[in-house]
Amino acid sequence: MNDMAPDRENRAAGLKGMGCSRKRVEDVRFTQGKGNYVDDVKLPGMLHGDFVRSPYAHARVKNIDISKAMELDGVVAVLTAKDLEPLGLHWMPTLAGDKQMVLADGKVLFQGQEVAFVVARDRYVAADAVELVEVEYEELPVITNPFEALQSDVVLREDLEGQTEGAHGPRKHHNHIFTWEQGDEAATNEVMDNAEVVAEEEMYYHRTHPCPLETCGAVASMDKVNGKLTVWGTFQAPHVVRTVASLLSGIEEHNIRVISPDIGGGFGNKVGVYPGYVCSIVASIVTGVPVKWIEDRMENLMSTAFARDYWMKGRISATKDGKITGLHCHVTADHGGFDACADPTKFPAGFMNICTGSYDIPVAYLAVDGVYTNKAPGGVSYRCSFRVTEAVYFIERMIEVLAIELGMDAAELRRINFIRKDQFPYKAALGWEYDSGDYHTAWDKAMKAVDYDGLRKEQAERVEAFKRGETRSLMGIGLTFFTEIVGAGPVKNCDILGMGMFDSCEIRIHPTGSAIARLGTISQGQGHATTFAQILATETGIPADSITIEEGDTDTAPYGLGTYGSRSTPVAGAATALAGRKIRAKAQMIAAYLLEVHDDDVEFDVDRFVVKGAPERFKTMKEIAYAAYNQAIPGIEPGLEAVSYYDPPNMTYPFGAYVCVMDIDVDTGVPTIRRFYALDDCGTRINPMIIEGQVHGGLTEALAVALGQEIAYDDLGNVKTGTLMDFFLPTMVEVPNYETDHTVTPSPHHPIGAKGVGESPHVGGVPCFSNAIQDAFRPFGLRHTNMPHDHWRIWKTANDLGLHG
């Protein structure tokens, strides 16, 4: 059996394990239009649902008349809150400890809110019937500003009237949700009061939306014969959906099967539970046939989970020579009509307390006040870990403002305040323990790569030329150094609705040496089927091409908390590596038996176990797998399988250094991105090509948010940006050529040292694009201006600074 062994490197390359740019195995079906998305699920007799939605942002629902809709041929049912109430499903709990109307119960709180659910024979009849449902509204005063909400006599949430205690402590006002405090307020104020320099700034991080290519939807199928409910849906956390569905419906969990098929992007939008899911399930239970609900783009933008909408007020103190001494941050968080933020339960403002960033800040204080308004609920982590984009934007703007206050170069100010390599693990003032980092090395590499001093010189020359009237273009240099906090998370402090945020992997090695591995996560485009197989290839010596990765079916996959917050690699990736090691441990015993030596006398070598000191004596994993099933080995159970549930000891802390060079047409407000350099350190790199793709995608969504992507409302609470005409999704034309780079600082507590990367470029990208715009106007006195930096707002900045003569 033992043929001439190919050399070690060739064998390793043949595995396509960690570190190689293996092509994405998913792309064959995606690029050929052979994906299987929720809307591709078509079942016999399937009915179609569609929503009657509120045109008003705040109104009392006086009456709903469904009679005309019911008369339309093909309409099976029209559900209203009254129909759901006997089931206790007219309201549902949110992930944030609040509750949310499934269908309007007496009033509506935002434009686009679900009022009635029409079920019909086909999608067209359903849409026709929606028009025939007559709803009588009485308009109520609309509040779209959280500061106004906290002053107003208007009670938005009448169901909570008189409740002074919320899910996260006392409520100060009938439109107030929670106050979340971290750090030492008194000590911070004392430092501020005695500081040599204090810079203050207020900034609004506008409301935006993850806008995945595929909108949300579900197909529910209640089989009344065997009592089983199957739900296909756009779920980033299918197991959580199963548990919640069981708790809400009373159907035992073993009788519910939740399937996330291919998902066309999530970016946080598909973490929560939406009324459409509940209504399609109820409709299927009522009718006994499958019911499909797929929302359209306008519904997705208008009613599903938004991101950001943070009003942030900061103070940062320093010595005269730029050493930061303290940070104070207050956030007024606009949560819309219901608090449906998707955060770990104990973190109502997510990980906003990472807002001390990459800097050694001895004392800090953060307070976040959540507020109700007449806007859609949500507050999800759009391509970032929980509220980390807000935190990084805040600190990276505060650094710029402090640099202006000090008259210092912003790159140098960062440099002298970075947490030093020898300080890790570093306990930050707001509680987190950063696992590892080497910020100075990354920063210096970035500054050198872009010739930072040369850029500053060129910029100064441009300013002079501008002042002489020789050009109407200004140059901006955007800097950002970010630290992400991902991989939620340790069960001791991270849970969702009480479910600890571990994750899992189950592996079965087949007798012929190929394998299937199932995980509790679910890919939405991240390429899990490719990268998790690479981890296993390296850990078990089975070629990645011989490993099937399966996720998203709760009947087959082990329990896990899903994919968001860059948690798949840090948590499920760790479970995968450890399950692989269990396989390897058993394989070692089998190999030793087959080679007739002691267990300790064999060692793993890429794809085989060899006898120590006698490498010509070995058993390949393929041989071992066959023996595991077909040979009676004393003291060892047949088979080769392993399961690992991983509770991470800490978060992981990827970081990066970004530089953006922009030219801005002062007269039209049109920015042109000349250069974007992104250095990412995500620890051990599993697939460099996928990392690069993730960086490109994350930066593009960062560009979108910084330069124009927003959910804007008028004073009546109408959504002004409800279609892709006005909601900015960049195309390849608007996107520059990104330069990617990296350093590698492995996570010390992760089994393979990986930290997660999918969201870093978004987290770091937004402030970098924004800083570039703001930097261009710094020589003319600009201190801060809010995003999004679309053409007219850039023009207005220039105009306000008197640059239009």
Binding site: A127, M725, T731, H791, H804
Partner: protein, 284 residues
Amino acid sequence: MIPAAFDYYRPSDIAGAIALLQEHGDDARVIAGGHSLIPMMKLRMAEVPHLIDLQDIASLKGITISGERITLGAMVTQHELIDSAELAAKAPILREAALQIADPQVRYMGTVGGNVANGDPGNDMPGLMQCLDADITLTGPDGSRTVAARDYYEAAYMTDREDDEILVTVSFDAPKGGYAYEKQKRKIGDYATAAAAVQLVKEGGSVASASIAMTNLSDTPVWSEAAGAALVGTACDADAVKSAVAAMLNDIDPTEDNRGPVAFKRHAAGIVLARAITRAWDRA
């Protein structure tokens, strides 16, 4: 995004299409590329019980160049405008403008006739046709008539066309001199924040004639006769451009939308026009 039910027709000649329009009156609409009408139907902002597709009518197709006269069939696509070498030689401003409309997929379907006929202030072709002083030919039950593009537009989506008439061709004399189509937009696929079409003729170092039209800065396209006149006789220097811009600003009436407030749009219109004039002059 689900339209109401409609009947679909695909006549093979103009007469057949007009007969359907007469039969169904207000309940019928013709469809060319569909980029405006189909979204309106899906949003249920337009209910069209009888939809008449013009794509099988051969006489509406093709670019005809006869001497100095250029005639575009209503169903000529924006892609065909870009693709025609002969047209690019005779009237290069069409290619320059068409390349700034949306993206290739849209341009494969979007037509000259649909763009001109619909009266959407965001469309690029109406202003361009006013700049070129094009004639629009409409065919109805009583035969054909011709309207100047400069007289065709009454208000947003309101034009001189009767409900039972079909726009069949747009024709114009091959323009002379320098040209430019300058457009500021937020992104690919967007309507203009401001756009300017300029044709000018240079003789003996000064402007002999100039035609200027602006897009998406009023509820109709704006042919600014005064702006063109301000350039005539000048050497197109900075003062002349300034006068032309000032004259144009008297003629436009932009409204605030997500692209920005009125002050910004007026500023952008001035910048866009100044750049277009400068480019056209350099090419003259």
